[in-house]
């Protein structure tokens, strides 16, 4: 290929992915502005560290293994909680959508529990499940449960009436209707719920660690905050941000593969 053609291809690529260039530029400007702002306003380092100090803290933490270990603890807690919470939410949501009597009877309780800020129950769960990982898993599961339950329920309810009639007209069973029509058509809703649940479960694990834990990124933040290692706190926040973005992107990638047929992607605010 001629160099002119290659240059044209590069130009097209740049135009198509221009937003990626902007994302990088904004990051660079943000970090630069941060350094400069701290210098100009002479804000002390023990309040807000410079980006360079955060990078140093990150490198130090990971090379000593402390960050690896604690990241692993928090990830395990969040993910286990996510699995337990979302599977429970999926099953209960499906049951509610299938059996009207369950919906009528349980709905008021679910609304009452839903409106309760579940994070407020975290201290109780620590009391019941102890300072170890199980209490963090319980909190993560509890906050992951609702988004999945609600989305599965709504998704199953919003199945196209004609699609159900089609299976019914062939003397299809209720199970066939569920497996062949309702469940697949609720998948975009399920994924919207899973996406929120995954991010919530990280939040749940961190809150649990704040309240009482010896391991995990949340516990690490508390220790560093007390010893005024502010650069350290910020570096852990960076890890959490990367975890959150990674979880969201991973879920989106799976969703795109599974619900490739869905017309519009269901975007959810985090």
């Amino acid at each position: 290929m001629s160099s002119g053609g290659r240059r044209r291809r590069l130009g097209e690529l740049l135009r198509a992915k221009f937003h990626l260039v902007l994302i990088v530029l904004i990051f660079v400007a943000f970090v630069g502005g941060w350094e400069l702002g701290l210098y100009l306003l002479s804000i002390p380092e023990y309040l807000i560290p410079t980006p360079r100090q955060i990078v140093v803290a990150l490198v130090r933490g990971f090379s000593r293994g402390v960050y690896w270990w604690n990241t692993l603890v928090t990830t395990t807690e969040a993910f286990t909680g996510f699995l337990i919470g979302s599977v429970t939410g999926l099953v209960l949501g499906a049951l509610l959508a299938q059996f009207r009597i369950l919906e009528l009877v349980l709905y008021p309780y679910l609304v009452a529990f839903q409106t309760l800020p579940k994070i407020a129950l975290a201290p109780l769960l620590i009391l019941w499940f102890g300072f170890g990982v199980s209490s963090k898993i319980a909190i993560a599961a509890m906050v992951a449960f609702f988004p999945v339950l609600v989305n599965v329920f709504v998704g199953l309810q919003s199945t196209d009436r004609d699609q159900i009639d089609l299976v019914r007209s062939l003397s299809g069973t209720r199970w066939q209707t569920f497996v062949k029509i309702q469940f697949p058509s609720s998948l975009p809703y399920l994924f919207a719920g899973l996406d929120v649940a995954l991010v919530f479960s990280i939040l749940g694990a961190i809150v649990g660690e704040f309240i009482g834990a010896t391991h995990g990124l949340g516990a690490l933040i508390m220790q560093m905050n007390l010893s005024l290692d502010i650069a350290g706190v910020f570096s852990v926040l960076v890890i959490l941000a990367v975890m959150g973005v990674g979880a969201h992107l991973g879920m989106q990638a799976i969703q795109k593969r599974v619900t490739f047929w869905a017309k519009t992607e269901t975007f959810t605010s985090l």
Binding site: L166, S169, S171, W261
Partner: protein
Amino acid sequence: MDAEASRRLATAVGVSHTHKGLIMISGLRKAYAALGRDPIEAIADISLEIHEGEFVAIVGPSGCGKSTLLKILAGLLRKTAGEVLLRGEPVEGPRRDIGLVFQSAVLLPWRTTLKNIMLPVEVLRLDPRQYVDRVRDLLRMVGLSDFETRYPRELSGGMQQRVAIARALVHDPSVLLMDEPFGALDAMTREHMNLELQRIWTESRKTVLFVTHSIPEAVFLADRVVVLSERPGRVLELVEVDLPRPRDLEMMATEGFGRYTQRIRARFSAKRGFD
């Protein structure tokens, strides 16, 4: 038992076993219960006999109970009163010898064309391996042989509706119930689909009950047109369409064709005049 004896017996027990009267509807009434109000009457009184292999179109104003009639025939709705027989057996619920086509194609977006057509085979728990050839034949019949691995969103509206027709035929039902199947298509595609449906019907020789808003469409396709009144529906007139087949689009411009559409249209305007 020889044919003569069998017919005599059938006459004796009041069931017609000749090739006439595949579907017998008599005194059909349907009222929808409304909470705290009088029930809404959708169908007042419909009696109708449909013969094997016949193409019957049902026309009528909106809300005259056309779709309700089809849903009762498909076993999806309970009738309030009257009798509906298919091959002499009362229709009490869904039955496997009926194929349904809706106003929209109602394809499952996560299934390919081939898998969509296979849905009735799966639901009826038939052996899919024995139906692969039949599905290919049907795809050829509806002119979609090259599209078996495509997903619905990759097909045009007319193509989607043809997939829906193939799906309704896959389990070889004796009756095809079509509820305004081309209502959502543009005029050009619609005419094309009318020609296609005539061809498919000639090839498959199914009994078809075809609900439509369009009088020309009804006259073009049907052996008989059932004209229904405004709600609550009753049969205003049965029009035998005695036009040669195969019919083509040019025929729609002929005087003979015009007389039929005129006659049906007159029924509606006359009725409106009384109101």
